[in-house]
């Protein structure tokens, strides 16, 4: 009882009887945390813990990682291939052999009839790098369609495009250690506590050791914005104006590092002439941040001994996403903040292996950051694979966001979806649905047979997911890390690389090309391809075992190096023909759908920490899902009062595309003319979103469109809410 000698009750504490811990890099976001999955005597995954010695997370995990072992028993997994003739029929089980034969013959039939590019492949950022490489080989080398892309177009395309335009190549130049070295950090549209909690922790640790200014640009008062020294509540979609204005102040006041610019940058004069027009007074009228603040921030940033910028979807998912990235790069180039400790342009990436697909999937070209547009690259890869280089297109084909309109217009007749759920994730869902109905043949390959896109497919292939196969992923700071297999896939589900290998055998070229039978062999093949002088993406010094021993290794890591380079461009040499970085002169074009009388609210969207993407994983785990089990929106209480909306009331949002019913949460996190909706729910935010495309990256502007709010019958709305919650 109370501190007494007697009457102590026995103490029982859950003991999961872990017998073995297996090494894995996390399968959710791109932070790249190393964790250990605990298996009990029966080999069942029962526990997860962050690996103590891991560079990235140093033993920490976010909520999703903490429960990641539960995924191996979650519901909705596919256990056998399914097939049907028509979309309105029920699926029937089939064999892998029949599935592959049918798939290959359908692709060939459609290609023969409508042309090679009438088959499209949309992949993901969820596979292992070896699988991306294999898929690229299959699509570029054997199937031969040029309409091949990943869902990374929805999240990282603008970063890729911006890096390429500024530095001549993709690849984030910085690393997490930069937090410990920087003297100023500016975050654009990046809500680390919610999206990348471990990166936030690294930042917080750095701030507690040595305080430096934290500036956050976000239209919402996120936790990150609240903790910032300066919060710039920007008008949605106007980041380029702010960035040009910051450059304007820096140049006008002579705060730039002219030596660095002269030695390492192209096109300074054109850049200067353009930013000349973006004086703070003019800019403040567009971006909603007052001119004094613009000057103040520019001075802090430029005067810091080193300064860094991070950004996420607030920049990328915009009609000028690529320009925004280049604007950030401009800022860091003119202040000499590229490739130095604490000075960088660090795009905080999205999916666990978004980097892997960027590097090796051949979506945007050929493997290892090679381009279809370059003859020497086509020759090199053709020779390496044993394929006639003429088989490759000479220019990149359609991106994901252009593939769906091409289906709509009838150019594409067959679609193969690998580990992505466009029915939930693509903007303007009504248009996507209509397009998918026009396909002659559609295959969904996914770990989850209940992902909404399967409703529109003719064939479903059950794939292994995280922990059911072995291979590598690359994180935000270019760290390649490995996930070991710790459990078998359910039923007949198979690793994606195996599926690609089997399908390849059904194509003429596929029989000629060598497809290795294990991921470590595939990795060895990639290593050979990664070698090359002046290549940044060099992994030739790595191996699966070495990666595990080091808790992940950063590229470039050339043969003979003990560890990889922490930063790119430390020598000031860039991947452009001239070796210099490009300063880009970019005009702001106002093309967003902005609120008006009919649709008076901005619609903003984003993530919540407990969910990942379209909830196919996290919606099924109660200890995650319970924190936001149904769709909701944040609305300003003053606006709610005007409209007569109470907390927890269902409302209907209407845009020019469609409608969505959500629950109202009243909070001053959002301004009076904006609502915020988490992006994860099916039949929700993307029934409303417009998704205008960035001209360079083709990434949709998810976060900028206009809606109005209407009252709904509460009982009907509640019924709808339940009906739409399969998980």
């Amino acid at each position: 009882m109370l501190l007494s000698r007697k009457n102590r009750k026995p103490i029982k504490i859950a003991d999961k009887q872990v017998k073995e811990w297996k090494y894995a890099v996390c399968g959710y976001c791109s932070t790249g945390c190393t964790l250990e999955v605990g298996l009990n005597a029966e080999g069942k995954p029962v526990a997860s813990r962050g690996k103590g010695g891991a560079h990235v997370n140093q033993g920490k995990l976010c909520i999703k990682g903490i429960f990641e072992h539960e995924l191996s028993e979650s519901s909705g997994r596919g256990t056998q291939p399914l097939i049907r003739d028509k979309m309105y029929e029920d699926y029937q089980p089939t064999t892998w052999d029949y599935a592959f034969d049918h798939m290959a013959s359908e692709f060939k039939r459609i290609q023969d009839k409508y042309g090679r590019d009438s088959v499209a492949v949309v992949s993901t950022g969820q596979l292992l790098t070896e699988e991306f490489y294999t898929l690229g080989k299959l699509v570029r080398g054997a199937i031969g369609t040029n309409n091949y892309d990943g869902n990374t177009t929805l999240c990282m395309a603008s970063a890729v495009s911006g890096y390429k335009r500024s530095f001549g190549s993709d690849g984030p130049p910085g690393c997490y250690d930069d937090f410990e070295n920087t003297h100023c950090l500016m975050a654009f549209g990046s809500n680390l506590p919610e999206q990348h909690p471990i990166i936030y922790w690294r930042l917080k640790e750095a701030l507690e050791k040595r305080k430096f200014p934290l500036i956050v640009v976000d239209p919402r008062v996120t936790m990150m914005a609240q903790f910032a020294d300066i919060h710039l509540a920007i008008t949605p979609g106007t980041d380029l104006v702010l960035l040009n204005a910051l450059a304007h102040v820096i140049l006008q006041e002579g705060l730039q590092k002219q030596d660095y610019i002269d030695a390492h940058c192209n096109d300074f004069e054109a850049f200067k002439a353009t930013v000349e027009k973006y004086d703070p007074t003019t800019a403040s009228k567009i971006c909603g941040i007052d001119e004094d603040m613009i000057r103040h921030v520019a001075r802090i940033y430029a005067n810091a001994p080193s300064a860094m910028s991070i950004w996420t979807m607030g920049i990328n998912q915009s009609t000028h996403g690529s320009d925004g990235v280049c604007g950030i790069n401009n800022l860091n180039l003119i202040t000499g903040n590229i490739g130095i400790p604490g000075g960088t342009s660090l795009s905080i990436t999205g999916q666990c292996n978004a980097m892997g697909t960027r590097e090796w999937s051949s979506c945007s070209g050929l493997p290892g950051y090679r381009a279809l547009e370059k003859e020497e690259h086509r020759e090199e890869i053709g020779k390496f694979w044993g394929v006639d280089p003429e088989f490759f297109p000479k220019k990149r084909g359609l991106q994901q966001t252009d593939i769906f309109p091409a289906i709509e217009s009838g150019q594409i007749k067959a679609l193969w979806i690998v580990a992505t759920n466009p029915l939930t994730s693509m903007p303007n869902q009504p248009r996507i649905k209509k397009a998918l109905e026009k396909l002659e043949f559609m295959v969904v390959q996914d770990g989850y047979k209940d992902c909404e896109t399967t409703h529109y497919a003719h064939m479903y292939l059950p794939a292994a997911v995280w922990g059911e196969k072995e291979g590598v992923q690359t994180n935000t700071e270019r760290r390649v890390n490995i996930v070991r297999q710790f459990v078998n896939p359910p039923g007949e589900a198979k690793p994606d690389w195996w599926i690609f290998n089997q399908l390849a055998k059904r194509f003429e070229n596929g029989q000629k090309i060598h497809f290795p039978e294990s991921t470590s062999e595939i990795f060895d093949e990639m290593k050979v391809l990664s070698k090359g002088e002046k290549r940044t993406l060099d992994i030739s010094g790595m191996s699966h075992d070495l990666i595990e021993q080091n808790n992940g290794l950063q590229w470039p890591m050339r043969e003979g190096q003990e560890v990889g380079d922490q930063r790119l461009y430390a020598d000031g040499v860039f991947q452009t023909p001239s070796g210099k970085a490009n300063l880009l002169a970019m005009e702001y074009v106002e093309n967003n759908e902005v609120p008006d009388n009919q649709f008076p609210f901005w619609l903003n969207s984003g993530r919540v920490v407990e969910h990942f993407h379209t909830r196919t994983k996290t919606g099924k785990l109660g200890n995650l899902n319970k924190f936001s089990p149904t769709p909701y929106m944040e609305i300003n209480p003053d606006a709610a009062k005007d409209l007569g909306i109470n907390s927890m009331q269902y409302v209907r949002l209407v845009s020019k595309r469609g409608d969505a019913v959500v629950m109202a949460q009243l909070t001053h996190r959002v301004p009076r003319d904006m609502v915020f909706i988490p992006m994860h729910y099916h039949d929700c935010v993307n029934r409303l979103s417009l998704g205008l495309l960035d001209p360079y990256s083709r990434q949709p502007a998810f976060k900028q469109c206009a809606v109005r709010i209407e009252h709904v019958d509460q009982a009907e709305a509640a019924k709808l809410n339940v009906e739409r919650r399969a998980y």
Partner: protein, 624 residues
């Protein structure tokens, strides 16, 4: 023993190099000293029956969480790490994060609060628990609960101001934060602390301010009065908060800054000012307790007045006692108590463990209440057996069965009086501790004299009705006048109604002025249940007037009896509605919730519409 990993990060290790002598409440931090030397040093904890003493040098010192409210990002990592380690299903969480927020965009502040058990110096859970499932250990000062002892009454969840004990309706038992004493034994901080990503949560010997921190305050906005239980949690909160901060959950409470900088709860009129009946919502999980308290009080009132009245020589009561109806009256008293106890037993998560309800007589009012009522029943039972031989009906039955006349001796009367007299203090103890059960500081709506006025009042009202229902036939059988008995019954009812009414008036006055959650309860009473509340108040007054009128008119003919019956039924209805309101209205001093998680309104909504049927929603559906 918990295994420390080879690559265990340094932040996971406890690091209390020096400690204070006494805590904020001036109790020794050394728990051996605090126990007066009763608890031995180096005692094995036998976690999961494993022997051995941990290596932690401070294991006999009171430990505490330290929470830097400025830093919490609401990422749920602490909650997740806790649930992962303790293997908890979605609907149970030993630790929860909620928040308060205030200000106007963009000058807006949200403050997240992560809260688990505070392993209090004065553990109200331990003191309240009737089964003795709780132990405050001399090791770390951990307040641990044994689910295998618990019978799921949920009383600890009522008294805890922080919502720390978790009642699992599926398992029918409570479980709670165990301070990760297995980790502490090997020098590691609890799982939640090691998992914190905002550098908000920390842990160590109480009153120690962690590295890089400057405060160890005992309170922050949204946190209940620490004087209730002397919690072992300390806070840092240096950033200024808006003058008024609100909760996002459905609780109609917000917090207002006072002159001294602290925040006090005030009513947040979230539900508007419209008034409703909401009769259906009066039915709650606590329905068995509505029945238990009312029926027990009826039994006590009826027996007390009948027995004492008889002893004091009230003629009509003596006539009742001597009549053939006295045994049925005692049976009704026993039956009411029996039904009550049965109801309260069925209310338990594990009814078959009811016998554990007397394990904590030293501290728990629940134990004493139960024991009082139980002893009362035994005494009344013995009393009834002793008066049975005097009962005419029983005598005739005896004669017809055994063929001989039953001679009841004077000894039996003495025995009957002895047990009857003993039943009085037993019943009084039961009633008093029934009242004490609800004097819970964490539930300000109950923690008021009106609870006492109501319990006594209902004993009189309902007891009076019981006496009349059995006494009237008794007297009629003997062809005696009913006036006197009806007078007694009527006076009981009138006194009871006055008592109840006085309680209601005082309660309304105090709750309107209260700076606590009681005011919020009263606000719900006046809005969500506004019409039911008004009707109940009006009926109370009408009943009183009717009783007085009937008494004045002295009506005891058929019309009079009908009129009395109507008033009695009306009084019973008022009692039921009043007691139901008592249970559904209480707003505990819990921590603020989030929009979905720990939001009672969302939980109710999820149950109402069927979302709760999906386990991943984290809400348990209603059992019925």
């Amino acid at each position: 023993m918990w295994q420390v990993r080879d690559d265990e990060p340094t932040y996971a290790f406890l690091s209390d190099k020096e400690t204070e002598e006494v805590n904020y409440y001036e109790a020794p931090i050394d728990l051996i000293a605090r126990s007066g030397g009763e608890a031995p040093v180096d005692r094995e904890m036998f976690i999961n029956d494993e022997p051995g003493v941990g290596c932690n040098p401070n294991r006999n010192k009171q430990h505490a969480f330290h929470f830097t409210a400025d830093n919490c990002i609401g990422c749920h990592a602490c909650e997740a790490a806790c649930s992962e380690k303790n293997d908890n299903p979605a609907h149970i969480s030993f630790r929860s994060v909620g928040y308060v927020e205030g200000g106007t965009f963009p000058d807006f502040t949200r403050m997240n609060i992560s809260m688990a058990c505070n392993h209090c110096d004065d553990p109200v859970c331990l003191k309240g628990c009737p089964t003795g499932a709780y132990t405050k250990h001399a090791e770390y000062g951990a307040v641990l609960q044994d689910p295998d002892t618990c019978f799921g009454c949920g009383y600890c969840t009522w008294v805890c101001p922080y919502n720390a004990p978790q009642l699992d309706p599926i398992q029918g038992q409570v479980s709670k934060c165990n301070m990760c004493v297995d980790r502490l034994e090997v020098g590691l901080k609890p799982a939640c602390v090691s998992a914190c990503l905002g550098n908000a949560l920390n842990f160590g010997v109480v009153e120690n301010t962690p590295e890089n921190r400057e405060q160890a305050k005992v309170q922050i906005p949204g946190f209940p009065d620490p004087n209730i239980s002397k919690p072992n949690i300390r806070f840092q909160q240096t950033k200024k908060m808006p003058d008024e901060v609100k909760r996002t959950d459905g609780m109609p409470v917000k917090y207002h800054k006072q002159d001294d900088g602290s925040y006090r709860p005030v009513v947040d009129q979230k539900k508007g000012k419209d008034i409703f009946w909401n009769i259906k919502k009066l039915s709650s999980r606590e329905n068995p307790l509505v029945i238990f308290t009312l029926s027990t009080q009826a039994a006590l009132g009826a027996f007390f007045v009948t027995f004492l009245g008889t002893q004091l020589g009230v003629e009509s009561l003596q006539a009742l006692t001597n009549s053939v109806m006295y045994v049925p009256l005692l049976l009704v008293v026993l039956g009411l108590c029996g039904v009550g106890l049965l109801m309260s037993t069925m209310h338990l998560g594990k009814p078959l463990r009811f016998y554990r309800g007397f394990n904590n007589l030293r501290y728990s009012p629940v134990c004493r209440e139960g024991l009082g009522v139980f002893v009362f029943m035994i005494c009344v039972g013995m009393h009834m057996l002793s008066v049975l031989p005097n009962n005419a009906l029983f005598q005739s039955m005896f004669q017809s069965v055994f063929g001989s006349e039953l001679i009841a001796g004077g000894t039996l009367t003495a025995v009957a009086n002895f047990f009857g007299a003993l039943a009085i203090p037993a019943g009084a103890v039961g009633l008093y501790y029934m009242y004490r059960c609800y004097r819970i500081p964490a539930r300000p709506f109950w923690n008021h004299s009106h609870t006492g006025f109501s319990f006594v009042g209902n004993s009189l009202i309902l007891g009076g009705i019981v006496i009349a229902v059995l006494g009237v036939p008794a007297l009629m059988l003997q062809n005696l006048a009913l006036d006197s008995l009806l007078m007694i019954s009527g006076v009981m009812m009138a006194t009871g109604i006055i008592s109840e009414g006085l309680g209601l008036l005082l309660h309304a006055r105090d709750m309107n002025a209260a700076g606590n959650e009681g005011a919020a309860s009263h606000y719900i009473q006046c809005t969500t249940f506004g019409k039911s509340y008004q009707a109940r108040n009006v009926l109370t007054a009408v009943n009183l007037l009717a009783v007085i009128a009937l008494l004045a008119l002295g009506m005891s003919d058929v019309v009079g009896l009908i009129a009395w019956s109507v008033v009695a039924l009306s009084a019973i209805a008022v009692a039921l509605v009043g007691r139901a309101l008592f249970y559904v209205l209480v707003v505990p001093t819990t921590m603020p919730g989030a929009f979905f998680w720990k939001n009672k309104d969302f939980e109710q909504h999820a149950r109402d519409i069927g979302l709760a049927d999906m386990p991943q929603v984290g809400v348990v559906p209603d059992a019925h």
